[in-house]
């Protein structure tokens, strides 16, 4: 009776998804502008003279050099004008020139961000795998000795100071056991592979440079281990709690009653049901890994975003600080967006809502 008319599914301008995406995009742009305002205001509120900090004592005492420097970087302009100029340039893709490195901030960030992304990606993959396994194990063995051990291990992971762990693991695995390489992204004998993504492992693979690939992998091991330990502790606890909440759910019992294998029940029913809170924490942890690796980068001489942020902050490098603020803002907005999208993929109820 019903004449079924199939309407092709398109994402037209009126589609709810497109509308949602546009709203998210608009909000994100507003948030990023807010980030620039707050960063600019805070940086200028800090007492200190960026000219003296950048030029050093000798040159800061030379009036001609100071005048030329101030003019070159527009530091003689009123602060609102400096801000508007910055934002205007930003819309043209110009993030300014770092007062510290004297290089375009965009160029600096294009080198620093991939270095941090490479190590953060490794850490989040390891954390996800180990944290999910340990958390699930603890939930399945609730109240037993395995559960107690996993909970203690996760607590240790959360409690160990990262800087200490980085130095200690470097001492043990590099100096004593000789199974890890020295600091940096590559051994000194190697030249970085031709830049495509900025991730040395990927670029080495793309260039067919297997020796550099393995060397880059080796250099990733310790930083990834150190960074992932905290996240493993965090994820283990969240996974355990989330899994416990769904273990007794009707659909899980139904799966078991159907005679499905344990792994099928775990991956197809339990973890999928518990995935929303886990996904939230993974997103936050990944954002945190990308923006908060200063100490680990310092120990492993990793020229990433954390190092750049620290050096920009300690040298009152306003364009550098603004650049880092923007990148971190984009990272968090991007991750939140992806997580929101994944909610819909994992839970149809969210999609419908």
């Amino acid at each position: 009776m019903a004449s079924s008319t199939t309407v092709p599914r398109r994402y037209s301008a009126r589609s709810p998804l497109v509308g949602y995406l546009l709203r998210r995009l608009g909000t994100s742009i507003l948030l990023l502008i807010g980030v620039t305002v707050v960063t600019f205001a805070l940086t200028n509120l800090v007492p200190g003279n960026p000219v003296a900090a950048a030029l050093g004592e000798g040159a800061a005492s030379n009036p001609a050099t100071v005048a030329a420097y101030v003019e070159k970087y527009g530091l003689d302009q009123p602060l609102p004008l400096q801000y508007l100029t910055y934002v205007g340039n930003l819309f043209q893709g110009d993030m300014g020139t770092s007062l510290h490195t004297r290089q375009p901030v965009a160029d600096d960030l294009l080198k620093a961000v991939p270095a941090t992304v490479e190590v953060a990606l490794g850490a989040i993959i390891v954390s996800l795998a180990v944290g999910t396994a340990l958390g699930s194990l603890a939930a399945y063995r609730r109240g037993k000795i395995t559960d107690q051990v996993v909970r203690v291990v996760s607590l240790i992971g959360l409690s160990i100071p990262t800087f200490w762990l980085a130095l200690t693991s470097f001492y043990i695995f590099f100096l004593q056991l000789r199974i890890a390489p020295g600091s940096g992204r590559l051994s000194p004998i190697y030249t970085p592979p031709p830049t495509v993504t900025g991730l040395y492992t990927v670029d080495a693979l793309l260039a067919g440079q297997w020796d550099i690939f393995f060397d880059a992998m080796a250099h990733l091991m310790l930083p990834v281990f150190v960074l992932s330990l905290f996240t493993i502790g965090l994820l283990t606890r969240f996974v355990r709690t989330s899994v416990l909440e769904v273990l007794d759910a009707d659909y899980v019992r139904a799966g078991r009653a159907k005679g499905l294998s344990g792994s099928r029940v775990l991956f197809g029913y339990v973890l999928r049901g518990a995935s929303l809170p886990i996904l939230t924490i993974v997103g936050l942890a990944f954002g945190s890994l990308l923006s908060g690796t200063v100490l680990v980068e310092a120990v492993f001489a990793w020229p990433g975003l954390g190092t750049y942020a620290y050096e920009s902050a300690t040298s009152l490098d306003l364009p550098g600080i603004m650049g880092v603020g923007l990148v971190v803002g984009v990272i968090y907005l991007g991750i939140n967006f992806i997580v929101d999208m994944l909610y819909g993929v994992l839970d149809p109820r969210v999609r419908l809502a």
């Binding site: 007492p47 000798g58 050099t65 600096d108 590099f174 992204r185 000194p188």
Partner: protein, 523 residues
């Protein structure tokens, strides 16, 4: 089943990758003679352009890639020796004639001429925005013939030969630099080119330069100077954490660690060699003489009370290997440095304190807490000073702040009582004359020329001396004058500790370029 197989294959792949990666991590023994040289240092690198550089790592790189008219032999910074040229001066020390070696060439094989010298020096003088611009202040440059250049100054300038050793005043291949945007005024645009290419005559050329991670140098095949090059490739890496530098060196991943503290070198393994000695930095206390800033610190008796209350040996314990007590504002390795420093005298301190009218008021001691100098952190130093002065009846409140916050207050003379440091821009005692009343550092202590015409006269005598003997006596008198009545209390000359693998020799410390890479040898 298929799933299990896939998982197994993936797991095997992962294990294989990690294993192979681990295999590639094998560290070489630090005792083996290396084919290339790896140097770890906390980077201060902003440019590959020597004329714009004014920071230590940049100097180290410039020294390896470029050459200057004059040089220093090893760690002896008392007398400049010929570099690209020899020189003569007139009796008034106002005219300096430099004669270039006839056969020296740049890295492209072209000869070094007087035109290159004139261009290079005029370029630094013309680049007003360069941090090194002030080095050429008051110096006129003129070509005499193809191999002769004359530098003139209006007043006697015995410091000029030492100035000409500074890598910022390196001689560049003018033809190449001009072709890539170089000029002798503030329109110069050659920096980008010099960030990736070399235009010098030094033992090395730039292979790659990354300001964040590493500089790679390779041997200059056209080099025809005096150095014998042992390393065909040099990698200078950015390693900001000194503990990591130490582990890299001990583990054989690097051959040289530049920034180890005194405590760290004391703990090194036997197969590491350490070259220690006092640096050229002086850490001192500043007591502002402006009564509007502080009624106490501006009182000369109070300054004496502080000067004699301190246990200098106790402070030196914080500095570690290679450090020495600062005997005055001129550090030990420089002309006119005093032999003996102040000794603790609690009676003299008590007498001076009573005469100052101080009655237990709390004085604020400011210092940068994120800027260790030569491995000396200012926070423990300030705490020990606080403790020592407390025992002498002076109450301090500590006010640490980041360097970038403190330096503005310091250079503008707004700090009453603070800990700071001073190092030379080039190896000459004239670098320490700014401590005089009415001069740069003096004014930071609120010490105007009218307050101490005596030290102004002593400074002028040292600046205008025209013979070495006269200079030495004048600088010693200047240093003694400040020690007796100046508003500064010199504390420590921190050590310089360069640690090398046992397979490396030839390290010598220089106060400007830290070390000359070309002088390093493989055993």
């Amino acid at each position: 089943m298929r799933n299990n197989t896939r998982v197994a294959v993936l797991a095997l792949g992962l294990v294989a990758t990690v294993t192979l990666a681990g295999c590639s991590a094998g560290a070489s023994s630090s005792g083996d003679a290396p084919s290339s040289l790896v140097i770890d240092t906390a980077f201060t690198l902003e440019t590959g352009d020597p004329g714009r550089n004014y920071v230590p790592t940049g100097y180290m790189v410039s020294k390896a890639v470029y050459e200057t008219l004059l040089d220093f032999a090893g760690s002896d910074e008392s007398t400049p020796v010929p570099g690209l040229a020899t020189f003569e001066q007139n009796a008034d020390a106002t005219v300096f004639t430099f004669t270039l070696d006839a056969d020296r060439v740049f890295s492209d094989g072209s000869p070094i001429t007087a035109d290159d010298v004139v261009f290079s020096l005029e370029r630094v003088k013309g680049m007003v925005e360069s941090k090194a611009n002030f080095l050429m202040s008051g110096i006129e440059v003129a070509k005499i013939d193809d191999l002769t250049v004359e530098l003139t100054t209006e007043t006697p300038s015995l410091k000029l030969p030492a100035l000409m050793t500074n890598p910022s005043l390196a001689i560049l291949n003018s033809e190449v630099v001009i072709a890539n945007g170089g000029t002798t005024d503030d329109t110069d645009a050659a920096e980008e080119f010099l960030n990736s290419e070399s235009a010098g005559s030094g033992p090395y050329v730039i292979d790659s330069l990354d300001f964040a991670s590493q500089v790679v140098l390779t041997e200059n095949s056209e080099y025809n100077g005096d150095e014998e090059i042992d390393f065909g490739r040099v990698v200078i890496r950015s390693v900001s954490e000194s503990a990591t530098q130490k582990l890299n060196l001990e583990g054989g991943d690097s051959n040289v660690a530049v920034d180890l503290s005194g405590d760290q070198v004391a703990d090194l393994s036997d197969d590491v060699t350490v070259t220690s000695g006092p640096s050229a930095q002086t850490i001192f206390l500043l007591l502002n003489q402006n009564p509007e800033i502080s009624e106490f610190t501006s009182n000369p008796d109070f300054v004496d009370a502080v000067r004699y209350a301190l246990d200098y040996d106790g402070l030196l314990e914080l500095a570690g290997a290679g450090s020495e007590q600062a005997t005055g504002v001129i550090p030990p390795s420089f002309l006119g440095a005093l032999t003996d420093g102040v000794e603790q005298d609690l009676d003299a301190s008590a007498t001076a304190l009573a005469a100052s009218g101080y009655d237990g008021e709390t004085i604020t001691l400011e210092y940068p807490n994120d800027y260790p100098v030569g491995g000396v952190s200012f926070t423990p130093l300030a705490e020990r000073i606080q403790s020592q002065l407390d025992a002498a009846g002076i109450t301090l409140e500590l006010a640490p702040a980041p360097f970038t916050t403190q330096i503005d207050e310091y250079v503008n003379g707004r700090e009453a009582f603070s800990i700071w440091f001073w190092g030379p821009d080039y190896a000459d005692s004239a670098n320490f004359l700014p401590f005089a009343a009415g001069d740069k550092v003096g004014l930071r202590a609120g010490w105007t020329a009218e307050m101490s015409p005596e030290t102004v006269a002593l400074s002028a005598a040292a600046a205008n001396a025209t013979s070495v003997d006269e200079r030495e006596a004048a600088f010693a008198a200047f240093a003694q004058g400040l020690q007796d009545s100046g508003p500064f209390v010199p504390l420590i000359v921190p050590g310089s500790n360069i640690a090398t693998a046992s397979s490396i020799t030839g390290v010598s410390y220089n106060s400007t370029w830290t070390m000359d890479i070309a002088e390093l040898r493989a055993k």
